[in-house]
């Protein structure tokens, strides 16, 4: 695959320029016979919708989780108001600008078809697009089902990750571009590794020292590798934007960010992945240039988190959460929900935000309305959910 040349043409200098970036984030791209661009971002680990888009107007919220809500709108570092009932986490500055420009639509109290609360199963179902595990992903099947009468762009499909995520795996051709070099885990994962080795007389002290030494190095050497890695996702998103923005480039991309599994100290831990996501969406928009007008991005996570705070100022595996649809082609500027409420008796299984919208409806709405996927193909892209109507009104007229 002459990807290096292509990357060079697009100003991505070389694969080396992205080395180490696939750590906590990765990217896959696919060609498709359309001028529309479609990007799926998977947030692995279960993003807490109630902290990222808190329904501050719901009196139940403060009773459940006062310590996990940013300050109210208008206060220093407070929520960005989304119309008097919902607020947007203050870390999402680019995305708030998109909301104000009617380019960001938030779907709340949404969930996939699974209720297992297991990350791996839920991610598989989310990416399979079904209530069981399939060997191909819904995005790949959608690529295969797109009408082929239009002239196919010569752009190549690729994954900027060691493997293509399940959502884009399947019979339709998708390439793979694995950056070399080392990548680094999330601070959270380092902490778990250190904990797991804590009692080992050999590896325990060595890992503790190693983490200390690196923190010291990062402090005394600003701009050292840690800094670069902190911006791994934005760099990949920028690369994706350049590739998708090219007239003969790929049209479909899948990306992922780890680090959302905030069982402990959620307010502090969530800040970093949110900033990555936000910077990434901003970078994607800039890099796409004029093609942003033709772009829709779906950001989704496998499930939400408990409505209650746990004993570690974090939250555990839950059910419904938020999904984002954004891009120049998206009719945004509002929050769409059938708000189930957080009061007594309103929670799903007495613990989670109740699911009221199937995220597959959002995906189907974008595939049909944006990419022009024939309605007959939706059943094969999302088997078992053909009766669910694609969500309407997601796109600009």
């Amino acid at each position: 695959m002459p990807l290096t040349r292509r990357a060079a043409l697009l100003g991505l200098t070389s694969a080396v320029s992205l080395s180490g970036l696939a750590g906590r984030a990765s990217l896959a791209l696919a060609a498709a016979p359309t001028d529309k661009r479609f990007v799926v971002v998977i947030l692995r680990g279960a993003m807490d919708g109630l902290t990222v888009v808190p329904p501050y107007g719901d009196p139940g919220l403060r009773n459940l989780r006062a310590v996990l809500i940013p300050p109210l709108p208008g206060q220093p570092n407070g929520l960005r108001d989304l119309g008097g009932f919902y607020g947007l986490h203050p870390a999402l500055t680019n995305m708030y600008a998109m909301y104000q420009a009617n380019e960001l639509l938030i779907v709340h109290a949404a969930a996939g078809p699974y209720r297992s609360r297991s990350h791996f199963e839920a991610q598989d179902y989310l990416e399979s697009g079904a209530d069981h595990r399939l060997t191909s992903g819904w995005l790949n099947r959608a690529v295969g089902a797109l009408p082929s009468d239009q002239q196919a762009p010569t752009g190549l499909a690729l994954a900027v990750s060691v493997t293509v995520p399940l959502v884009l795996r399947g019979p339709a051709m998708v390439g793979n571009w694995a950056p070399h070099g080392f990548s680094t885990p999330e601070p959270e994962l380092y902490a778990r590794i250190a904990q797991l080795n804590h009692d080992d007389r050999l590896t325990g002290p060595a890992i503790a020292d190693g983490l200390r030494a690196r923190a010291f190095a990062a402090d005394v050497m600003p701009g050292a590798p840690d800094e670069k890695d902190r911006y791994a996702f934005p760099a990949l998103a920028e690369a994706a934007g350049k590739l998708l923005g090219a007239s003969d480039g790929p049209r479909i991309a899948a990306m992922e960010i780890n680090g959302w599994d905030t069982h402990v100290a959620q307010m502090a831990r969530l800040d970093q992945p949110l900033r990555q996501l936000d910077a990434g969406m901003g970078a994607l928009k800039s890099a796409l240039g004029p093609a942003w007008r033709q772009t829709a991005v779906l950001v989704m996570t496998e499930f939400g988190r408990t409505a209650h705070v746990n004993g570690d100022n974090g939250t555990d595996h839950g059910t419904a959460t938020v999904a984002f649809a954004l891009g120049g082609a998206v009719a945004g500027g509002h929050v769409r929900a059938n708000w189930p409420g957080l009061g007594p008796g309103k929670l799903f299984e007495n613990r989670d935000l109740a699911p009221t919208i199937d995220v597959r409806e959002v995906a189907m709405g974008l595939l049909a309305g944006h990419l022009g996927l024939p309605s007959g193909a939706l059943a094969q892209v999302f088997p078992g959910s053909a009766t669910d109507a694609p969500m309407r009104g997601l796109l600009r007229a």
Binding site: G45, L166, S183, L189, D209, A213
Partner: protein, 446 residues
Amino acid sequence: MDTQTAQALVRFGLGRRGDAALPADPRQWLLGQLRGPDPARIASEPSTAKGLAAVIADREQRRQARAATRLSTGAETPVARLGPNHAHEVYEADAKAELDNALTTPTPFRERLVWFWTNHFTVSIRQGGCQPLVGAFIEEAIRPHVTARFEAMLMAVMRHPAMLMYLQNAESVGPDSPAGQRTQRGLNENLARECMELHTVSPAAGYTQADVTNFARILTGWSVDLRGPSPGFLFRLMAHEPGSVTFMGLPFPPGEAGGVAALTFLANHPSTHHFLATKLVRQFIADDPPPHAVRRIEAVLRDSRGDLGAASGALVDLPAAWQPGSKYRTPQDYVIASARLLALDSSAIPALPGILAGLGQPLWNAPAPNGWSDKASDWAAPEAIMRRIDWSYGFAGRIGDHDPAELAEAALGPLLRPETLTAMQHAGSRRDAFTLLLTSPDFQRR
């Protein structure tokens, strides 16, 4: 999987390959590998002839480049390469083929022995000319002898052009030999010293500098022919120190036979048996070799006149070798075990040589003739483990559809601690879970 089986796979072997069938009887599985034959098929078919041809081609190329430079500029220096780097091409093909064999071999205990003896008789590509010869060295001098008598391996090693070039015996000239008289060149004691110190009797034998010098005299003439019709080992009588020599209290005759006799003496020396037993026990039991285990292996070597197959089998029969977790995986151990777990071959992980280098153990590139350390303390420096963690995280991206818990069970069976499994079950993604498995103390040890 029972503990014995798991231990056979990780302690004696190179880690389970995927979910390959488990041996019915772990002990018999190990002993059967010693009975051979070695199933290794090294795809690049390394040979000394091919390696030396590359050395010769590169030298000729450099000679022409120098001549061209001299002609055009009058200068003696800058020498730009005129064509391909033959030595490097051979090295790359051999490294890939040997790694492929390590990833796929159904006789991983035997392969671990090949690694062990290759490291014992280190030839490093840091030395010019050795690059295209290490593969051939392993296939010709090491692999055929891992279950043979030590004497046979030692003889094959000391006659191999790779070793003669690495430790520069090829350039050693007897001062009183015709070549020495003519050129004023002299002894190079390097190979003689390392052969005694690192390969055979070790300093514990109490030899003197005079013994080293005399052994170097005995070995003069053991050289490499790069000019004749069939390049390879050559005994250069013209460079050989004349006269018989007293070495470690014994007289040795002149000629090639003197060297053979001295090596036979060293190979079967009690100090050699003790030294080899200590290193084998360190490899298979613990960094601080238990004396009783050393004594047992030493006795087997003594009673069998250095039968390495018998000594390896005796290791299997030592109860201490079945105590889990007492060895720490070196980077090579660790990376190969990880890749075997996902049943990869070298084409699926082409960056393997670079990975090993990045983790501090570049293939066939030990800094000194004593080879890579076999002690945890030399591999568990903080930044070394951090790099191991970072690599693991990148590698864990390959988990695909595997169930992390199933991988953990396949890799370690009962050697997996419950807390590791619990941590994996609480991970936010398959990749994180697999990272936790790879970086757990359970998997980092063998």
